[in-house]
C-alpha cells in the first residue's frame, strides 16, 4: 500500500544523521575542501553511528540489522547534506560490505566482514570507474581471465575512494562469462595505487587511480564464487548517487534561501522578489521530485524487483537537477556566490560530479 512516510526506525536514523551532519560534518566542510582531506576525528565519530556495522550479522560482530536500500538512501541524503566528500568517506567501507552481504559466499563473508565490525573505522572500497570516455559499468575494459584455477586481472581504474588505506578493494572486471567483481588486497602483486586524484569537487574525498597489471587472485576471491548477478549492485550504486545528489541539492537550496531572506535590495529582502522566489520554489519542487524517484528505485531494490530503469532514471534526473539547483543557488547570491567565503560555489563543484563519477557509494 502506497505510503510516503518513513518508518519510526528510518525517521530516527534520519534525525540522528541530520544532527551528525549539522554538528560534525558541516563545520569542517570548507576546510576539508580547501585542504583536500578528511579531519581525523570524523571517521571515528561516524563509526560510532554504526553506518557500516548496522547491517552486518551478529555472527561476525555486527549489529544484526538487515540491509535496506531505502534506509541507505535516507542516510546518504543526510550525510551528503553535511558534506559530500566527508559523507562518502565514512560510507566507503559499505562499498565492500554491501556487495558481500548481497551476493558474497559464506567463506567470503567470514573472511572479510569481521574486519568491518570492529571498534574502529576500517577503510574498504570498490574500483569501478575507468578513465575512458565510453566507460560502461556493466562491461568494463578491465578484464579478468581464467588462469588455471585462478583469475588474472588487468586494467586501469580511477576515482577509487580510500584505495591507499583500504583493507580490501572490490574490483569490477569483465570476465569471459560477464561482469564479475573480485576481492583484491591493495598489497597484492601487480596492484599499483597511483597518485591521489585531483578533482574539481568532492575534494575532501581521497580517490586514487588503481592500476592492475597481471594481478593473480584465487577463484575464491571472485564475489559470489562462481559469479553472481551484479546488476542489482550497479543499480544500488546509481540509487546511492541519486540520493547523494538530493543531499547536495538541498544543501545548496537551504543556503541560498536563507541568504535571500537576509539580503536586502531596493528596500526589501531579495526573496520578496518573484525573480528570486521562483528560483527557490523550483528548487524546492525538484528536490522533492529527486528524492521521491530515489525512494522508489530503492524500494524496488529492497523488494528484489528489477530496478535498472528506475535507478538510471533517478540518477540521471538527480544529476541534472542538482546541477541546476546548485547553479541557481549560486546565482541567488550573485557575486558573493562566486567567493569562497560562501559554500555555494563548493556545492556547485560537488554537484558537477554526479553525471560523471559513479560508484562512490552504494545503498
Amino acid at each position: 500500500m502506497v505510503n510516503f512516510s518513513p518508518s519510526e526506525e528510518q525517521e530516527l536514523l534520519r534525525q540522528t544523521l541530520a544532527s551528525f551532519s549539522r554538528d560534525v560534518l558541516r563545520p569542517h566542510l570548507r576546510e576539508s575542501d580547501e585542504k583536500n582531506f578528511v579531519p581525523a576525528e570524523i571517521p571515528p565519530k561516524a563509526w560510532e553511528l554504526g553506518l557500516v556495522q548496522e547491517s552486518l550479522p551478529e555472527s561476525v560482530g555486527g549489529f544484526g540489522g538487515t540491509r535496506s536500500a531505502l534506509s541507505g538512501v535516507l542516510a546518504i541524503e543526510e550525510l551528503a547534506y553535511g558534506g559530500l566528500g566527508l559523507g562518502l568517506h565514512v560510507l566507503a567501507p559499505r562499498l565492500v560490505t554491501v556487495p558481500l552481504l548481497a551476493v558474497g559466499t559464506e567463506e567470503q563473508k567470514t573472511q572479510w566482514l569481521p574486519k568491518f565490525a570492529g571498534t574502529e573505522f576500517v577503510a574498504g572500497t570498490a574500483a569501478i570507474t575507468e578513465p575512458r570516455w565510453d566507460f560502461d559499468a556493466a562491461n568494463p575494459a578491465t578484464r579478468a581471465e581464467h588462469a588455471g584455477g585462478d583469475w588474472v586481472l588487468n586494467g586501469i581504474k580511477c576515482y577509487v575512494p580510500l584505495a591507499q588505506d583500504a583493507a580490501v578493494i572490490l574490483v569490477y572486471a569483465a570476465t569471459p562469462e560477464g561482469l564479475g567483481a573480485f576481492l583484491v588486497e591493495p598489497g597484492a602483486k601487480g596492484v599499483t595505487i597511483g597518485e591521489r586524484e585531483k578533482m574539481m569537487g568532492v575534494k575532501a574525498l581521497d580517490t586514487y587511480r588503481v592500476i592492475l597489471d597481471g594481478v593473480r587472485v584465487p577463484a575464491s576471491a571472485r564475489l559470489g564464487g562462481d559469479g553472481a548477478d551484479l546488476v542489482p549492485l550497479l543499480d544500488a550504486m546509481r540509487v546511492a548517487s541519486a540520493a547523494a545528489a538530493v543531499g547536495v541539492g538541498r544543501a545548496a537550496y537551504d543556503y541560498s534561501r536563507e541568504y535571500a531572506k537576509e539580503r536586502k535590495a531596493f528596500g526589501q529582502a531579495i526573496a520578496q522578489k518573484q525573480a528570486i522566489a521562483f528560483m527557490l520554489s523550483n528548487m524546492a519542487i525538484e528536490i522533492d521530485a529527486m528524492r521521491l524517484l530515489a525512494w522508489e528505485a530503492a524500494w524496488r531494490l529492497d523488494k528484489g524487483l528489477p530496478a535498472t530503469r528506475e535507478a538510471c532514471l533517478a540518477r540521471r534526473y538527480a544529476a541534472d537537477q542538482v546541477l541546476k539547483i546548485a547553479d541557481n543557488a549560486l546565482q541567488v547570491l550573485g557575486g558573493h556566490g562566486y567567493i569562497r567565503d560562501h559554500l555555494v560555489e563548493l556545492f556547485l563543484r560537488d554537484a558537477r560530479a554526479f553525471a560523471i563519477v559513479d560508484g562512490l557509494a552504494i545503498v
Binding site: S5, Q272, L292, L293, E296, K303
Partner: protein, 413 residues
C-alpha cells in the same frame, strides 16, 4: 513505512478504468476534438451509469472520509481517484472533463456546505439523468486574482440577488442549462470588505436571471464545454450560501481562505489529469519507436546514448517525478495531513511536464507527431491547459514560494 506497492484493489480498479479509457474514450477522441460543440451522449450516458455505481469518475470530493478509514488494505480514496483520473485522461482529457458529475461546484459544496446543503445539492447526482455541477469564479478582469472579482450578491428579503459575468466555467453549459445541475457562483457581499466579503452561492440550473451567453472555442480539451455565464438580478434562496453570511468586523480573509482550501484537494486531481495526457504521449512515442526497432538502453553509458534515448529517458523521468509528487499530495489528503504546499508542487510540476513532454513527443515523432491522423498533436494542444487552470504555473509557484519562505501574501506579492 515508505512503500510504492499498489494494493490489489487499486490495481484492479486501475485496470478497469484503463479499459474504459481505451474502449470508450479513445475511439471518439478525434471526433470530439474536430466537432467541438457536439456532445458525445452515448459516452455521457454510459459514464453516468458507471459513476452511479462507482466513484471512479473523478467526482472530486463528496465529503465522505469514512470510507478511507474503512479500507485499511487499500489506498485512500484521493490516491485511488488520482490513479483513476490518470487512466481516464490517458483516454482523453476533454472527455474526462465532460463526464457528468458534481465537478468543482460539488467539491465546494462538499468542503463548505452544511449537512443539509450537501444532501439538497448532491442527491441529484444519484438520479437517472446525467447531471453536472460547475464552479464559476473567473471573470473577464479577474483570473488568478480571485479576490478581485466584481460579481455582487445583495440580500433582498428572503433571497440573494446575484449580478455579474463569469467566464471559463468548465461544464457551465451542462450545469446551468442542459441538466438539473447547479453552478457555484463566487460573488462579493461587500466589495469594501475585500476577500473577506467573498462568498460562494449555489445557483440551481434554470434559475431565472442566469444565462449562458457563450461557449468558448479552444486550443484543446474541445470535448469539454467552457461557458460564459451572466447573472442578471438572479435570485437564489437565502440558504444557498456556502458558509456564514456574516462579514467579520476586523479585516479577515478566513471565509475566502476556506474556499481556497478546496484547491488543495483539487490540484492533485488536475495534476493527475495532466499525467494521463503525458503518459498517452509517452506510450505512443515508445510504441512507435519500438515498431522501428528502437529500444531505450537504460543502463548504457550516458556518453553512448543517442539523442532520442536521452530525450525519451528525460521524458519518462519527468513524468514519473510529477506522478510521485502527485501521489504524495493525494496520500496526504487521505492521511489528513495539510498539503497546501505539496498540492501546489504537484500541480506546478505536472502542468509544466505535460506541456513539455507532449511538445517533445510531437518533435520526436516528426511528421507523425504533427499529423492530425494521430492523436499526439491533439495531446499537445490538450496539455497546455493543465499549466493554466486550477491555478496557473505562476500562481502555484507563488504559493510554494510563500510557504517555503514563510511569507504572507503581503510580504511576497
Amino acid at each position: 513505512m515508505i512503500d510504492f506497492e499498489l494494493s490489489d484493489q487499486t490495481r484492479n480498479a486501475r485496470k478497469m478504468t484503463h479499459m474504459v479509457a481505451e474502449q470508450m474514450m479513445r475511439p471518439i477522441s478525434r471526433h470530439c476534438d474536430e466537432n467541438e460543440h457536439e456532445k458525445p451522449w452515448d459516452f455521457i450516458n454510459a459514464m453516468w451509469n458507471v459513476s452511479k455505481s462507482t466513484s471512479m469518475t473523478g467526482s472530486s470530493n463528496d465529503g465522505k472520509s469514512k470510507e478511507a478509514k474503512e479500507e485499511k488494505k487499500a489506498e485512500g480514496r484521493t490516491l485511488a481517484m488520482v490513479m483513476a483520473v490518470e487512466e481516464l485522461c490517458w483516454g482523453d482529457v476533454g472527455l474526462y472533463l465532460s463526464i457528468p458529475n458534481p465537478g468543482l461546484g460539488g467539491a465546494a459544496v462538499a468542503a463548505a456546505g452544511t449537512p443539509e446543503q450537501k444532501e439538497r445539492f448532491l442527491a441529484r447526482f444519484k438520479g437517472d439523468k446525467p447531471t453536472w455541477g460547475a464552479m464559476a469564479i473567473t471573470e473577464p478582469s479577474a483570473g488568478s486574482d480571485s479576490a478581485a472579482i466584481q460579481a455582487t450578491a445583495r440580500r433582498e428579503g428572503d433571497h440573494w440577488v446575484l449580478n455579474g459575468t463569469k467566464i471559463f466555467c468548465t461544464s457551465g453549459l451542462m450545469a446551468a442549462e442542459k441538466s438539473e445541475g447547479f453552478v457555484v457562483v463566487w460573488a462579493s457581499l461587500d466589495r469594501s470588505a475585500g476577500r473577506g466579503g467573498i462568498r460562494a452561492f449555489v445557483v440551481d440550473a434554470g434559475t431565472p436571471g442566469m444565462y449562458v451567453t457563450k461557449v468558448e472555442e479552444k486550443l484543446g480539451i474541445r470535448a469539454s464545454d467552457t461557458a460564459t455565464i451572466v447573472l442578471e438580478d438572479c435570485k437564489v434562496p437565502l440558504d444557498n450560501i456556502l458558509g456564514s453570511a456574516e462579514i467579520p468586523k476586523e479585516k479577515s480573509s478566513q471565509g475566502f481562505k476556506g474556499v481556497m482550501a478546496t484547491f488543495d484537494a483539487t490540484r492533485p486531481i488536475v495534476a493527475a489529469s495532466a499525467l494521463g495526457v503525458a503518459r498517452a504521449a509517452l506510450d505512443f512515442t515508445r510504441d512507435t519507436l519500438k515498431e522501428h526497432g528502437i529500444e531505450v538502453r537504460y543502463g548504457a553509458p550516458p556518453q553512448t546514448l543517442t539523442v532520442l534515448e536521452r530525450d525519451f529517458m528525460e521524458m519518462e523521468a519527468q513524468v514519473q517525478a510529477a506522478r510521485l509528487l502527485t501521489w504524495r499530495a493525494a496520500w496526504m489528503i487521505d492521511q489528513g495531513i495539510k498539503n497546501n504546499l505539496e498540492a501546489s508542487m504537484c500541480k506546478a510540476k505536472a502542468g509544466l511536464v505535460v506541456t513539455w513532454v507532449t511538445q517533445k513527443a510531437v518533435e520526436l515523432l516528426g511528421p507523425l507527431g504533427y499529423s492530425r491522423e494521430h492523436l499526439v498533436e491533439k495531446w499537445m494542444r490538450d496539455a497546455k491547459i493543465s499549466d493554466i487552470y486550477e491555478g496557473t504555473q505562476q500562481i502555484n509557484q507563488l504559493i510554494i514560494a510563500r510557504r517555503i519562505l514563510g511569507y504572507s501574501s503581503e510580504a511576497l506579492r
